[in-house]
Amino acid sequence: MDKMPGWADVLLVPLISLLLAAIISALVILAIGESPMEALSYMVEGALGSTYGWGYTLYYATNFMFTGLAVAIAFHASLFNIGGEGQATLGGLGVALVCLAVPWPHWALALPAAIVGGALFGAAWAFLPAYLQAKRGSHIVITTIMFNYIAFALIIYLLNNGLKPIGQMESSSARFPEGTNLPTLHEILAVVGIPFSKAPPVNISLFLALGAAYGVWLLLWRTPLGYEIRAFGKSEPAGKYAGISSTRIILITMVISGGLAGLLAINTVMGEAERLVNNSVQNAGFIGIAVALMGRSHPIGIVIAALLFGFLVQGGAELAFWTSIPTELIIVIQALVILFTGALDNMVRMPFEAFFTRRRLAKAARAQSAARTPGE
């Protein structure tokens, strides 16, 4: 029996959690001697006040859609993939190798190849932890954390040895050929005559991310495999009883998850930097955890949560530019969102469950007494 109506579960509880996170964030801003309202207005103005701001907001949101989906699909199988950061880092390597391997004549040719490269490398980095979880029972949370650090070390090594062109001081790869430069939103919207700022790096990857969200929805709710993933996630013994192989589900889910995280590199490495630099992921893998939790692991929720975090990151950058509040404020907000929507979910949920249960019981009692009265 459901304890709460559906709308309360999908809307009310996440909104209250978000409100709590917002109130505490405001208190933090007050505590460091700044005005929360002023901070908010700087953020709104900087992130949503111009197509320039929107461009950056959407650029960051694209990142968080990929990583949010990656975390969410693993959540559906009851797997906690903290390795998005490392998988996306490796995805960057895959994208860079593809872009540098061939003198691509046109982005339309380079993009599918880069998608394969990014997804493949990201998936490969998720495969080993998944295999160890499925076959050897190694806890996937710990192994994915370890793989993050191994990925960082690997990329730093490769950037200094091999990927860096001879004679270059900065540790980054060579610039990708012209033919791999993705069309920006400015160019895409210009086709239909909508003016959009030229500066922000938002590009065609935004549509790739939205497509990925739709794809994940199709996979999870419209295919037998998605059904198996969700059934396995709800109850492993029940899944086993229904003939669902745990090894198969863990491997497939994590490979998809790692692949999605790897696709982030299309946006950052191919779309923005146009070469491989160190720390190309910029925390997006971790923010994906907050996005997946806030979006309740549903693609629609994730797209909305990704937009919110895109706004926060871009707004936070503007805030740091105009005031003395450092960008780390966003990490605090991210932490509070994870805390309230993830770890303290029950704290918000319990009072509502009690309230709705009491109300339903009262209604049932009233109905019973009403049914009895005419007969007497």
Binding site: F80, I145, M146, Y149
Partner: protein
Amino acid sequence: MDYATLIQVLDSTIRLATPLLLACLAGLYSERAGIFDIGLEGKMLAAAFLSAAIAYVSGSVWLGLLAGIAASMFLSLIHGLASITFRGNQLISGVAINFLASGLTVLVAQSWFSQGGRTPSLTGEGRFTPWEWPFAEAILPVPVAGPLYSDLISGHTAIVYLALALVPISWYVLFRTRFGLRLRAVGENPAAVDTAGVSVVGLRFAAVAICGVLCGVAGAYLATSLQAGFVKEMTAGRGYIALAALIFAKWRPWYALYACLLFGLLQALALRFQSMDAVLASDLLFSFGIMLAAIVALIAAFMFAKGRGLSPLKVMAQTVAGLLIASLALRGLAAIGLGFTIPVEFMDALPYILTVVILAGFVGKAIPPRAGGEPYVKER
């Protein structure tokens, strides 16, 4: 490699292993009680900041230490509330705590000191001073034993000795007291503890609190002993290495010491040599082989004198043989022109790689406490 260099490397091994050891023991108490804690990193970071800030403002490192412990305890309380009281996901709570500390420390540091998210440098009473052991100066000229005593054993700060002392203390508390038995039981089978009339919630909160204190000390050590002040993200993944060491140690105090010393050694080597070629690596392996052989010989003599068997030393003897053979092999490779360089990045990643290997169960199986990560629900 000469003896002086070896002593230097071992000296910094101890310094670098201390925060790992404290955090590892912190995790040990928490995880033995069934509360997974990936928030070690965040608690250390918060403690490092507040200890440095208070030590700077008050000029007393001891007040700083207390403040550090308070900061870490506050985060522990959040973790306890989320994972014990509200039966939330312990892993997610740990992640949130890490981010909370990562963001808040910089935010507050910037607001208090306006130095780009760091505290001013600590001097004098604001830092822990090294303890010089008796006769350290006098013994120094004695060959071999002199530097060993004066530079390696003497001359660390109080927290280093505290961390080392906590290993036998933790072993005693966990395996020889009633509290320890109950704490371990609550991590294996909370229902049984509950049936015996002991509070599961109380025990778990106690474990989380101990974890908070130890992480607080670890963080304070980073900012007021190892370094002089707080720097943004100064824990640099140590909380995760401690977690790795905990798994490496299979949740046991003495093994935690060995694991932390090993990981501390890797950090010390990476710090001292950056990248290593085959000859240097061979030298190092040889030195450690000889050193370990000396320790084995000492223990063997001791056990022989007491009339006990020597079988427990088999593993150590095998390790010595392995080190020496590896050393010779590397030297041989270098001699025939197959020498190679071990990059510093590999040294940095080695603790994580070793942990994955251990977790994979190829070198002994690491089995966590059975009820770890599961919130306890009394009413069924």
